[in-house]
Amino acid sequence: MGGYGDVQCIDENGIRLDGRTKDEVRPVSIETGVVPVADGSARIRWGLNDCIAAVYGPMEAHPRKIQRQDRAVLDVRYNMAPFSTTDRIRPGFNRRSREISKVTAEALESVVLTELYPRSKIRVEIEIICAEAGTRCAGITAASVALAHAGIPMTDMVVSVASGKVHDIVVCDLNKEEDNYGEADLPMGILPNTGELVFLQMDGDLSPDQFQEAWDYNMEAAKVIHEEMVRALKGGGE
């Protein structure tokens, strides 16, 4: 959160810098099968975000100490390409990517039937090619489609979307300026068929009413994104 600053992210008519209303989602498109050598893969373009997820496995878990006798482990690696933002990102794992990898694995573990593959590992690689805002949400959503594309049994897919607060106004699906200069954001991982929540983070402060409003925006946005996920899986590429 970058504080108020001088940037006016939303005008008096409620129109945002990119022309959206406060409850509108950025354009989303998803395609599957973008990494032919992977067991499953997906690419999501969400506003200016561009993210590829690839799934390999189930395979034998190595090193052996990470094996679980009763279930598979999800080995998630979230990474931002050095050229994905205006400031070059130093290649390799950092605190942020470790944290996002962890929360992504935990969100996905709640839907994947890991108990069907004891002692195995399912490797999920998430690569951010171009970052605008909400890359963790794009990553989780792409990984979810890639897992489904790989034929991994799942009780539902995880849709992740973030709403937040800019100049005391709650807006849906933050863009870069809103993420940088806004006061709060609330990324959520939602199971669209049941409305259950598998992941929630909050950065900044929201009043109970604002929290409810952001929650409602996320739930509505999840339906829109889920439709695109299903379209990609049912009629998508190879």
């Binding site: 499953g40 189930p58 593959y117 195995s120 489904a148 799942m154 996920m229 299903v230 379209r231 049912k234």
Partner: protein, 236 residues
């Protein structure tokens, strides 16, 4: 669920396959993980379907089938899970002094003990019999609870593959390759004059002269493309 062809038992007319196998020309009923397939009271959950709180839910992406009151999903992609007596084609991945480790396309490598191998080897000479990278035609002898498996090369026709090529297809498409009563496979063998051995793990050994192998390979790819189009819509 909005948009697309939604596979729900209560949306399906009798003609649409709720009471029996669907006609092949009908639009496929595609599902994605989490899709609600209807009430679990009347129907049994088959492959790729789970009953949760009285509702049937799809676990995989694929085509829904309803045969004999059992709802199942023919998945678009599958990984091979070994079962005893499966005929499989594997690659030697490693060895110790008396065991080979074989990649059979499953989550775990299988083991091939020297006692079940093609011949005995002198101490330290195991790689003279089967070396790393060799392809073998073998049979799954045993699968343990923890998914590790043992394969054998003792049996008729089981051998090291020294000629031809090995192609890979999704294991769930094997039925389509083999055809009813083995018709498709027989036709493929006759027309290409190749030896064709389809392993249960989706690996297919093609052996013959070069033109025959290329022809068989093209036909295999055409068959798979056709299968995908048929499963997921479009004209064949």
């Amino acid at each position: 669920m909005k948009g697309g062809s939604v596979a729900r038992l209560d949306n399906m007319s009798g003609d649409n396959g709720a009471d029996g196998p669907r006609r092949s020309r009908q639009a496929p009923l595609l599902v994605a993980p989490g899709d609600d397939l209807g009430d679990s009271g009347e129907y049994e959950a088959g492959h790729g379907v789970l009953a949760i709180n009285g509702r049937l839910r799809a676990l995989k992406q694929g085509r829904m089938n309803n045969r004999g009151g059992t709802v199942s999903i023919e998945p678009r992609r599958t990984s091979y899970v070994p079962r005893p007596s499966d005929l499989v084609i594997g690659y030697i991945e490693g060895c110790t002094s008396n065991i080979w480790f074989v990649d059979i396309g499953a989550p775990f490598n299988a083991i091939l003990p020297m006692s079940l191998g093609p011949s005995k080897a002198e101490f330290g000479g195991i790689r003279k019999v089967l070396d790393i990278g060799d392809a073998i035609l073998c049979r799954v002898q045993e699968v343990e609870e923890n998914h590790s498996s043992v394969v054998t090369m003792k049996g008729m026709g089981l051998r090291a593959i020294r000629a031809g090529t090995v192609e890979e297809i999704d294991p769930h498409l094997l039925g389509r390759l083999i055809g009813r009563g083995g018709n498709n496979l027989r036709q493929l063998k006759e027309e290409t004059e190749c030896r064709v051995v389809a392993g249960d793990n989706g690996r297919v050994w093609l052996d013959g002269d070069l033109d025959g192998i290329i022809n068989a390979r093209d036909r295999l790819n055409a068959l798979l493309t056709e299968a995908k189009i048929e499963e997921f819509g479009g004209e064949v």
